[in-house]
Amino acid sequence: MLGRKIARHGLAIVATVLLGGLLSAALMRLAPGFDADEAELDPHLNAASIQALRQARLEQHNIFRFYFHSLQRAAHGDLGTSNSLRQPVSLLLRERAPLTLRLVGIGLLLSWAVAMALALSAAWLRVSAYDALTTVISGTFLCIPAAVLALLSVLWNVPGALAIGLIVFPRVYRFARNLLGKAYSLPHIITARAKGLSELRILFWHVVPVAGPQLLAVAGVSVSIAVGAAIPVEALCGLAGVGQLAWQAALARDLPLLTNLTILVTLVTLLANSGADVIGHILRGHEA
């Protein structure tokens, strides 16, 4: 059962990534200016060289052939060369991915720590004023654009990971607060409270098993939110990660780089969501 679920997720991931790659390749092919190459303006090139450049681009005219060749090259570790940075895409990704991973990882940890602390305390205390206060705090962060939070982090000299944490935290808080609120209002938990069970026991024995699988799904989604948040944070804080690379590629219309980044980001978010789903399935299996 679990094996089949993992296989189904794996197939869905492969299909989505391949389709996503094809779509971004198609977008790239149809983009205005696709056929233009600055290299043709080089006065040092003679007519034969220019003709050779045009001939080399002819292969890219058929989207499917172009995509198939790109996949073939990617299978051998060749992700192409960035148009704007004139460097192999694989090298750029290798250099920048660790920073983004660290930022997103720390940001996620911070956001979950703050969101769960606030959500749990609000669910425990059940004081309307405190609930309103936490809702206002998270709501305010929700209404500030991610890029503004990134700019403010530069202004206040705050680490980029904290900015990512502040962008992700209100979204996590919202879901966590609702899930925990619902779990705490279940009849068997009210009974457990009436019987005098300690709050910690209620939390770990009765609330977490109820809200856990859904919180895991939120964890999967929060990875996608954090990866998205890394773009403005890295771009505006001057952090040389994958998010900044995506922004630079967008500004320079570096489409080969963007296609690879699209595939990478799709893969990461799908793996996170599927991972959360599979873990949730395992946990539910243990409970049953």
């Binding site: 209404c143 500004l251 219309r253």
Partner: protein, 274 residues
Amino acid sequence: MSISRTNIWRALACAVLLLVVGASLSANWLAPAGYAKQYREAADASPSRQHWLGTDEIGRDRFARVLYGTRISLLLAPAAALLSTLMAALVGGLAGYLGGGWARCAMAVTDLFLSLPWLFLLITVRAVMPLNVSPMVSVLVTFLMLGLLGWTSAARVLCSTAGSLRDSDFVRQAKASGIPRTRLFWIHVLPNLKPVLYAQFWISIPAFILSEANLGILGLGVAEPMPSWGSLLKELEGLVSVGEEPWKFVPLILLVVVVTSFQLVLSKQDEVAA
């Protein structure tokens, strides 16, 4: 009849939205000059009687730019939300109503879109389009893109709602009475999706306002000299400290107030949808 505290907040939110929309629509009369007019002798000036919020680094009146920028963001975000809601109704509603392979196909497309972080998807698609376009074209491209890409999560909700309607008694009865499928969809299914459509429309507006602001700050939104909240917030990039020029935070405060107001109105729509 007692008025609940929530309703007071909602009424206040509606009043704020009306006030802001009214002020932005009256920009031609309220603003001391056009958004592109430069006072070169007073570049980067502090607030004064002539320039209520000072001027930017090339001498344009900031108050005028806030008013015109608000107009652009507040008029075009609902337009984009309308477009995305219509697309969601068409794709999600039809897929849910038809069911089977259609629904699976539509949901596979939405899954594909949803597998990419929203901002990443926006900058990728924006990059495909030319960046050196006229300001008016940049405004249309930005909001059209938001409308054309923002329908996926709404389509998912509508697909499941339409799916449950398809199996409802009144639709079965209508089918048994021989009503053509197209008529059944337009006359019976679509009107029943209205509450969900309203809720999705209201959810999309603040999301699109924030997305435009993010794109603008990253330099991929509305092009100069056209103002929008995104381009106005880009000014914060040059700040050295918060206390130095606090009036530069006015667009941010306005944006937060407007988005909060939309969220408060939104909770009412959620209740209606439920």
